[in-house]
Symmetry: D2
């Protein structure tokens, strides 16, 4: 097992650096808002994770690489010690980007060397933490992209992260018409099963009772969202949750994040630059509030996370790897290929109507790693699926992503559901 | 039906005024924080509700009593029109308290007169709204008490709302030891049944799947909460939700609201004045965050709202009327009278672990009254039961009260639950 | 001397209560913004001043009337002890208004009794503090009016403090054309002279060097200010101080405070109710920033406080008593009566271009009363003259009033000055 | 004249780049607080100044180098157009540092080329603006240093800008004892005279009346300031202006900025790293509030700006050039060399008690350059002299620097003054 993990470790670590290839040094250091972190911080924090939770407990005669890093790059692990304040991550010019890469490479070297010597129980224990660290770094790979996108969007020069990949310019005919797929009521099993990796919040596997529902076989599109806007969607309080309405007003929202109007013409900022809106693309960068308002406007609702998981599992859908070469970080219009249920993975995360709560019988992991998930189960909503920015191998049908209902800088969209009784 | 309702209307209206008997004019006008409203505003707003939703649609040749009142006393009904900003309710010195009472009495007079002439469908339609208005006013009766308590607590003179009732000074022997009562897993029915009044959020009645659990037969007490405090409960981040921990730090919480320390001695401010802590009382005025942290510290958890409702329904418990004469507005220590499950109603509202969400198949009412409940289903938690401040006739086993997790000025406490698997 | 002071004391104390005659209890308790205080607080604080600085040091066997009042009604005297936070003055419902009047009357009774027994040095020492207390209460009399005006203006019902006095409805012909009056450069004496009362900030009397200037013989009018507005005065950054421009934008100013536009028609809220703008009235309720911008627009400037004082002293002008019966609290249009220099006193306070700084050789008084003036000499501007709200006997040519440059709720206007070199 | 100016231009431009030699790319981009700007922004903004005010009006067929730069690098010139918000200067990762240097060099090339062709009136007009631009860039050279210092100070790694120069480690014997030097009252001339460059705020030259005073012949030292601290200087409200006291409490000040306490031992962060406090150094990085409180504590006061200027002019003191090679950016202890008045220039800027106001007869320049000074004359205080960070050739006796009274990140100290009457 450790051998495979060593390989996965190296692959994952390299992919983080691949994502940074197009960056200027300037792009690494700025914190564009409290929720986002500088790229350099992501690179250092994921390394800190391996140093703190793997190296420190498995290396003989371990000594901290830099004692300051223990707090500088600790995100929120109170059990590990003090944390440099999150809102001040963008005030650090040192360690420099070069020094952060050195830090990464030293940890890589020492950690791989250290793994070679392990065996038995020790190997198993360390293997579990190592695996968690790999998935942790993958989460930050997505954050590197979403945080960079937000950062670039603050600049009137609209920097381009990478040019559009060729496939992105291919014409796409026959967009799929939305259809409803029906599911009966009954008890289903929810949560992770088997030996493969999952986070603690996907467990324990347990029974859940579903009520009959219908779900759309594709994501809501840009074109549909524009209809909502034309129908006064952002001006009708009856469509919104009360907190959504006040948030919208305070933040001045009148379209999804990154949409830019110029003389009545809409375009959107993407990691591949500013471009025209494509009505057949899934709508992206909407908050839970906007998704919920759209659903109410359309006479339907968002699915619960249990409904979503049941649909994905019944369809036997698994996320596909993104070919790294494409480096295509924007959701794509859907061609109708007759698929019964499409776009579950790999385009945009999908808001569900489920507040992020512990599963029945949930136990957080022991020790510091118990802070990974459980303590955030309040005032957040679950998103399911995965996005164009999610690294290959990271998504799965039981995966529970979560963000506060006003978050818009993630690649977040939605799909519609309705009660069956509402149909007849 | 209208005859009974007329009687209930008059009783309810009089009870609001009974609650205000001890007040000075000064007590009516101040808004002590954004979440609280001046008493005068409560008196006027509940009247506005009857004027707007009953009188305006049932009185012949109806004309507004004062056109300004339409926005001044509209709380959050966007469908009805503009609202005077909530945070500025305390800037109004006019209409005076006397004028608000005149307004109340004029609406009472006209409304009762108007009801006499109704019959048939019209009577039924109006009857439903009238009933809602009565329950609405009862909710504000509780808010009058909680908002006054907060207001008085800002004053170093510690004003007394009413002197302690005699029963409050009676000695109480044999406090009840907590015991766990077990419930099997299975499908249960949740939600309101029958013809009696309920809010739309208690419907539709539906099946829910419970997992085996045990619940304590009484509320957590002041004495138990002090143990938590002595054990560093407010200083240990591992016990808290992340948002709870930051809220606690920002707000500087180190004890429940209204607890006052003086030279190591704790007392608490009540509507009957400042008094010593009684360890056998239910702990009160804690946030969801504190209830949740206590539960984690004790190795248990809070019940879901479905668990709570199932327990109350199985025990065939119904809330008892408060004799108005007692006017006792502080939770009481529990004597062990052998009851299998105690303190479900009438002491403190009980935090559940359930975010406030729509029931499966939930439909908000049509029109403006649809704004009553549904639009608040976000970032709030359900509380069950009722408190010393809840008026007689207002509580029921299916009732869903809700507040944000940081709210402490309500009479809020909690009871513990645990998974059965955790026991063996 | 004490006999006269006793009389002045009683007169002043009665005048505060005269000002409150039209008030409802509700009007006494609300704090409408951090800079304003509830009327009840003014009544209590001025009484606290006499209790603390006179009674406590002159009464045999003095004991505090209510120990809580020492901090509740201490404004900013750190030497005296803790202060109840200024921003929370509006959270107190007790002591009630009636109790505050009782407090006033008890202090009056005891203080007058106590004065009778004094003589010699003791009488002189106490006499000085008593005199200061009288002028202190007069300052709060003006604040009672300005704070009430602000409070009423928050209410869409536009409460009327007192009906307009008859003189206010008299037609007024021949408004005065503005003319410039010239003053040569030279050394002049500035500051208070003689035995009569003054504040410490008016001393020591000292030489100041004036440069030749011209000053307008009347105040800037509403009509002139509207020209400025029509000429884009609120939209041209070149006319404003940088801090003024950002303040204006943040606060959303587009006219003087209390001006209300309705369908292109301007009216203004006054203590006598809402009324049409009168173009011949002095403009009032403008900030320093607006006065300064108007002056720049008109090619002139505001006078320094030394220029203003020199003009007033040379003209041998003294403020006139307001007949209490008129109770006319709004600045009046000026009839041309041939006066060489008009409206120095009794209409509006006049912004000068002088930051509020200590005079050369200034010494604050010893002890707590040294906190009266000196510690506020930062980021404020001096206003000279007096207003319709200034009580009789309070104004004098050397009086230095002061407010931050963004303050608008005082009766503040201005008059224009220019350099002589700018004329030729 | 243009030839000399061309030389001065090139020298100044090179010096900005010399200051940046020790920087990593990371150091250029971060905005550490709203008052500070990224180094890159300073480099670009000073270039924008030359492009906008010189190149655009003197180059034939001028076209903007990058139209976006017009708003991106406009600081506060409303007459020129929109400004990218000051508080968001740190969100820009592009143009990169390299591109900013290219921008600088292109403007340099074109501007120098353009100057060669000028003569006559045009040369004179452009010459004046060019000279202003040079002095403007010098101001930003000081800001580059102060903003960098603040930025580095946010980092627990305490980055070193440059190592200490050798002279900084030389032992220094015989610190100077403070002595008072007396000045008689009388009329003096204040303001710039002659043809050499000055800002508009130093004019017109005019008469001012001074009252007799005494001034200390050296700056207040670290050692003296520690006495103030030991005597409770930061805990005694009687020593502070009211606004200073509340600012101190809100900001949590208990020592000058950059002082760091560790186990009772004080050190300070400098551009040459963290080092022990030297009691003989001038105290630095104090606000006006702290300087004023110290002066009150010591029974003296701060000088007015007229007093300061008169002292400097009478002593015939002129600032000395800093040898660039030393690159010593921290104030130095004073050796007693018998000088009658020392440390007027080149160590720390000196707070005066003078609010920043226009001189009698002041006229702002015409057009956009009129926004350079005048519009900031509100709620700021004048500082005189110059600091270790002021570039050679920038200081002069009539120079008026200005900052708000709470500013601490400049190299600001003070010297004491007292009234003569206070002495005898």
């Amino acid at each position: 097992m450790l051998e495979n993990l060593s390989r996965a470790y190296s692959t994952t670590r390299r992919f983080s650096e691949f994502l940074c290839e197009p960056l200027e040094i300037e792009d690494y250091v700025i914190q564009s808002m409290p929720d986002a972190s500088p790229t350099r911080w992501h690179l250092a924090h994921t390394t800190w994770f391996f140093e703190t939770f793997v190296l420190a407990s498995s290396e003989t005669n371990y000594r901290p690489i830099n004692p300051h890093f223990q707090s500088l790059f600790n995100s929120y692990y109170n059990s590990v010690g003090e944390q440099f304040p999150r809102s001040r991550r963008g005030l650090l010019t040192r360690p420099t980007v070069a020094e952060v890469y050195e830090y990464r490479h030293e940890v890589d070297r020492r950690l791989l060397h250290c793994l070679e010597g392990l065996s038995g129980d020790e190997a198993e224990r360390i293997g579990h933490v190592l695996e968690l660290g790999i998935h942790h770094e993958q989460q930050h790979q997505e954050l590197i992209l979403t945080d960079l996108k937000y950062l670039y969007s603050c600049n009137p020069l609209w920097p381009v992260y990478r040019p559009s990949p060729p496939e992105d310019r291919r014409p796409r005919a026959n967009p799929k018409q939305a259809a409803w797929s029906a599911h009966r009521s009954g008890i289903v099993e929810i949560g992770h099963r088997g030996e493969a990796f999952c986070y603690d919040n996907e467990q324990p596997r347990h029974n859940a009772l579903l009520h009959a529902f219908e779900i759309q076989d594709r994501l809501v599109t840009v074109g549909e969202f524009m209809e909502f806007m034309r129908d006064g969607g952002y001006r009708r309080p009856d469509l919104w949750l009360s907190l959504g309405w006040s948030t919208k007003n305070e933040q001045g929202w009148s379209a999804p994040l990154y949409w830019v109007e110029n003389d009545g013409l809409w375009s959107q900022f993407t990691l591949h630059g500013l471009r025209e809106l494509n009505p057949h693309e899934p709508v992206c960068h909407v908050s839970y509030f906007e998704a919920d308002a759209f659903a109410r406007w359309s006479g339907s609702r968002l699915p619960t996370e249990q409904e979503w998981e049941h649909v994905a599992v019944s369809a036997q859908r698994e996320p596909q790897p993104h070919p790294k070469e494409t480096a295509h970080f924007h959701p794509r219009p859907l061609i109708d290929d007759g698929d019964r249920i499409a776009q579950l993975f790999g385009e945009v995360w999908q808001w569900t109507s489920s507040p992020y709560t512990p599963y029945p019988g949930y136990r957080a992991a022991m020790g510091a790693l118990g802070e990974y998930n459980g303590k955030f189960m309040c005032n957040q909503y679950v998103l399911r699926g995965s996005s164009r920015a999610t690294p290959s191998g990271h998504a799965r049908p039981t995966y529970r992503n979560f963000f506060p209902p006003d978050a818009r800088w993630q690649f977040s969209g939605f799909r519609l559901t309705r009660d069956v009784s509402a149909v007849s």
